[in-house]
């Protein structure tokens, strides 16, 4: 099959395209028909389950637990601040450097319709009625009392199957609804502002530097925002994202230093870098996490200092150093791809070693390996699933707890719960991969050589 893409134009053209690309020979027609049939069947089965068979009540009731775990309700505004900051930064950057507004607005619009309207008027809660009952058996009468729990569904304007579209996450009217509305509006306004106002200074280093600095500061700022909230209450998707963000952020810089260490002119530095990378990569992350959990004074004062900090921070450190070993190898690959002439031209210009790497070598090396770096980040993000093994309540563990606690109202809704867990992992991975794609495009300008 040729790699022609379907043109975005009249039906006739599409039919022509299909004839040329899908049905241009007997074998190809057969393959196409089978593939389409299997695809339709899977789509039908998924739709049937999501819209009609599934019970989204458990997901809907526990959406807060899914996102922020046991985080105290009166402090949740801190998380919202971080989310809003990220949204502003992402949308403004998109507006300035990508600027394709139509697909962007359509996507945000679809999300807005699902999140903001399908749940309107819907109310879902558990009614608890105390009861006492007299039981007579064998001549003896005893009274038992307890609480009867019943799921109450007050349907809004949308039929239940439409509500299911939002996987039960559709939010009822209230404070959160307003916040979500503001967030979605901001995503559009930020992009418009970036495109129509800020993009005029697109080539100005001041704009580039300030937006870059804001991105770099985002992760540390989001962590600092959490100061004062007990670490023990961090959980679920929030905990995963925070650990990944901090670990990933520092892993990049650790990887950069290690990669440069590997090509250092000093033998001792090379030796240490290579040794570090080989040792760290030789054991699975889970083993390192267990070391971090159980290390006490085995390494003397170093171990004591390490074990004195909270487990969450210890895990962040493990993620940063573990991820760094892999990133180092990725960046080393990029460094090897830089032709010798680039070093020679920099030297001939009398650039210092630091200038040579900062302005000439590293920008090209890192650009060349963005896809691989994004791949490492996605792997690191999914590695947060391992936290369940060291008694941190990550998304996976939270899902198990929800299931364990509430079987009586949503009996056996395992599949629904794990679909949402999967979606949380998927959505962050997807955002990462799109960010990588955008960065690649943005930096790929001078590629044609």
């Amino acid at each position: 099959m040729s790699a022609v893409t379907a043109p975005y134009s009249p039906v006739a053209q599409r039919i022509e395209w299909a004839q040329a690309n899908l049905f241009n020979s007997k074998l190809n027609s057969l393959v196409s028909v089978v593939t389409i049939a299997v695809g339709l069947l899977i789509a039908f089965l998924v739709a049937k389950f999501v819209l009609f068979d599934a019970n989204w009540a458990l997901v809907s009731l526990n959406r807060r637990l899914f996102f922020v775990g046991g985080y105290p309700g009166e402090e949740v505004y801190r998380i919202w601040i971080a989310v809003f900051a990220a949204a502003v930064l992402a949308s403004v950057s998109y507006g300035i450097w990508v600027g394709r507004m139509r697909p962007y607005v359509i996507t945000v619009g679809i999300i807005a319709v699902i999140v903001l309207t399908f749940g309107l008027g819907t109310n879902l809660y558990i009614e608890e009625t105390p009861f006492t009952q007299e039981i007579t058996s064998g001549g003896q009468t005893s009274t038992i009392s307890g609480i009867d729990r019943e799921l109450v569904w007050e349907q809004g304007w949308a039929p239940r199957w439409l509500y299911a579209f939002s996987l039960g996450l559709a939010l009822p009217f209230g404070g959160t609804w307003l916040i979500m509305a503001a967030l979605l509006a901001l995503l559009v306004l930020g992009a418009l502002f970036g495109k129509h106002v800020l993009s005029r200074w697109k080539s100005s280093p001041v704009l580039l530097q300030s937006v870059g600095a804001a991105w770099v500061l985002l992760v540390p700022a989001a962590v600092l925002l959490q100061i004062g909230v007990s670490i023990n209450s961090w959980g679920s998707a929030f905990l995963d994202i925070l650990i990944f963000a901090v670990g990933g952020f520092f892993s990049f810089f650790i990887g950069l230093v290690l990669a440069l260490g590997r090509i250092s002119p000093y033998r001792a530095v090379r030796f240490v870098s290579v040794g570090y990378i080989e040792v760290v990569r030789a054991a699975p992350l889970l083993v390192w996490l267990l070391f971090a959990t159980f290390l006490k004074d085995e390494l003397g004062p170093l171990g004591e200092a390490f074990s004195s900090i909270s487990l969450v921070y210890r895990v962040m450190i493990v993620f940063a150093f573990f991820g760094g070993a892999y990133i180092a190898e990725v960046i080393r690959g990029g460094l090897q791809a830089i032709p010798r002439g680039q070093y020679e031209a920099s030297n001939a210009l009398a650039l210092s070693s630091l200038q040579k790497y900062v302005f000439i070598i590293l920008p090209q090396a890192i650009k060349a390996v963005i896809p691989a770096i994004i791949g490492r980040f996605i792997a690191l993000w999914k590695d947060t699933a391992l936290l369940a093994a060291i008694s941190l309540i990550n998304t996976l563990e939270q899902a198990k707890k929800i299931l364990a606690g509430q079987t009586d109202i949503a009996d056996g809704a395992f599949f629904e719960i794990y679909i949402v867990v999967g979606l949380i992992y998927w959505s962050v991975s997807y955002i990462l991969s799109r960010l990588g794609g955008a960065a690649e495009k943005r930096l790929g300008v001078g590629e044609r050589r």
Partner: protein, 248 residues
Amino acid sequence: MEQKTDNEIVRLERVVKRFGDFTALRDVDLSVQEGEVVVIIGPSGSGKSTLLRTVNQLEKHDQGRIVVDGIELTDDARSLHQIRAEIGMVFQQFNLFPHLTVMRNITLGPQKVRHMPRQQAEELALQLLTRVGIPEQADKYPGQLSGGQQQRVAIARALAMNPRLMMFDEPTSALDPEMINEVLKVMIELAGDGMTMLCVTHEMGFARNVADRIIFMDEGEIVEMSKPEEFFTNPKEERTKAFLDQIL
């Protein structure tokens, strides 16, 4: 500091360079005066490029002395840095920075090494681009230019450092024939402006018309050194004759 004779810019004394068992330069002596255009020719593998590259220490020499603009090349990083800033180099493969615009390729050196303010560096870059005939290409990336245009940008980049010596390492060898002249034209103008130049090239027309002196190298040695007319019409050494017979 070294005692300078006349306006000597480069002085090589018994310079030796080895790559493993292979000796690329054998006891090379050379002196280049300010304003002189010296063209080095010779068969491939004769050490021409290596000679240039030892002058700005892209290759470290193993023995002998190299003095540039009165500064002797030692292991001292500062003297090396100083010397490199005074020497512009143009490579066979251009070696432009593909991730930077033409403008940025040229302004980087003056801004980072000479600490020139950005605006001044950009004015200078435009002047130089005008001089090499492509001021309209300033905002493009190297990959969007033809080979000849890229090489002219490379010359502008080297000139932006206001060098005392320009070295050309086979600047036209990687170019399509129709682009060779646009680069040679810039080099001829440069020579006319009194720039001191040290060129490795196979362009005999250029050597004959522009050079003050021609050096013929073979097997790591300077075999013959003379004025162009004499060199081409009355070569003294057998090896020179054999080489000229082959190429002319």
